[in-house]
Symmetry: C2
DNA sequence: CATCCTTGTATTGTCAACAATAATCAGTTA
DNA sequence: TAACTGATTATTGTTGACAATACAAGGATG
């Protein structure tokens, strides 16, 4: 249900040694496969085939597909099986308008509840961002660090239900970020600057500024991704509307 | 996944004749049982027992429990089974702060996208509200009509992902509404007036007013429920914080 | 020639049996 | 007596087989 960060920043001394179910493993492996492009959008995901590939039975695979549908990576239709989701411009608009509503609340709460440990973790991710930049980072690295920074904001907000909503958007946003990176190479400085500003406003616990900054940041991100979309024109079918956010 | 309204207002001429799975039926029957109080908060929900009671195998029951966990009605712990969720004041605060963030967006979008059919459906629910009031309605009736009005707003917003988030909150809100009704008998006029104002602002497509009204409406609702909570003091364990929204 | 119906097949939906696990409760030991 | 240890048991996790369904292909019919 809850993807573990790849490089743990400020990890606690002992982890509670949680045992995961087969379905959880399948979720992670399938998610990675989809995000890595091993399965293309629209491709059929047959339960039996996946069970054979992953060396489990169909039960855990079925559960995993339900979870991945919640995360927006998979579409399941009754008696017709699952397919990898195609994310259209309409989906982009839905994801980012919802994200804006959620993340405004996240910022307000983080401004109220975040601890010094939270701020330190954010700074660590920003530092990792700098390090990555200095050695020619891959697009995946950039997208993951970007998401990790925002994930820390959601965690600092101390709101389980909101965090669950965010978890259901995260993978879709990852896909959109990769798309943005391909078309737009100079976004990185903008992102780094925006993150620095967000952290500064959070530290100042300035609720008005925090809300303003996240709105600007996300609207900017949305616009840049939308450019990539109209440039490459993924959904070739006539899908005209949805340029404006909200 | 998607609860059908009990009394369909402004129903379309032909329904697409969707065939439901056993798991979907189990979800509905279990949800109703929990909301009707057939299962008390904290009570264990054993898969085998439920399967026997509902005359299905454990498979569909398992799927249903996962869905109900997403709706916040059930807590599933690995190898320890499922229990009916206990909703604390902390949960109330989470649900209503998240609801406020979502519903502000819903109102903004509904103000932009709602059609005359949407408005007519809202008026029909308001009329049903009046009819119900005139003949001494049950608390369940009131809560259902209240939820149905807000559900129409979310539908009018034309935003599938947001609607899914709302669907995951709806049953929890229903529980809170029942709680409010018990302790506070004169809220009905307030609610009716607020709904009328919301509809009028939507018709005027006044985005500023719409956002202001929903915030007032939901903060008021939250405060009234919180009163009931502190009056009856459900979570008897020392849970001090969370009086303020956001 | 198009359309409808039948049949075959691949795939998901459901089930019941088996394996793994966590809680319970004696029994033992310090 | 209290704490630890080990078997017992109830319950979930997982599996493979069976049933139901939707799609596709082919033939019958107008």
């Amino acid at each position: 249900m809850d993807a573990e960060p790849l490089l743990s920043v400020a990890s606690p001394p002992l982890t509670p040694a949680v045992k995961r179910s087969l379905a959880d493993d399948v979720v992670d492996r399938l998610r990675d496969a989809i995000l890595h492009g091993s399965f293309k959008p629209g491709e059929a995901l047959r339960e039996e085939q996946l069970a054979t590939m992953l060396d489990v039975s169909r039960g855990p695979v079925r559960e995993a597909l339900v979870q991945l549908e919640r995360e927006g990576l998979v579409v399941v239709r009754r008696h017709r099986g699952a397919t990898v989701a195609r994310l259209s411009r309409g989906d982009l608009e839905e994801v980012y308008s919802l994200r804006l509503a959620l993340e405004r609340l996240a910022m307000l709460r983080a401004a109220r509840y975040a601890t010094d440990e939270d701020f330190a973790a954010m700074e660590a991710v920003m530092a990792a961002f700098d390090v990555a930049l200095s050695r020619g980072p891959s697009e995946k690295e950039i997208a993951e660090l970007d998401l990790r920074f925002h994930d820390l904001i959601y965690r600092a907000a101390r709101h389980q239900r909101m965090y669950d909503c965010w978890s259901n958007l995260r993978s879709q946003i990852y896909i959109f970020l990769l798309l943005r990176n391909v078309a737009n190479p100079d976004f990185r400085d903008v992102t780094i600057k925006a993150h620095a500003d967000l952290l500064e406003a959070l530290r100042a616990r300035d609720e008005v500024l925090v809300a303003t900054l996240i709105e600007e940041h996300l609207r900017g991100a949305y616009d840049r991704i939308l450019e990539s979309y109209t440039a490459t024109e993924h959904a070739s079918s006539g899908e005209a509307p949805s340029p404006t956010l909200i």
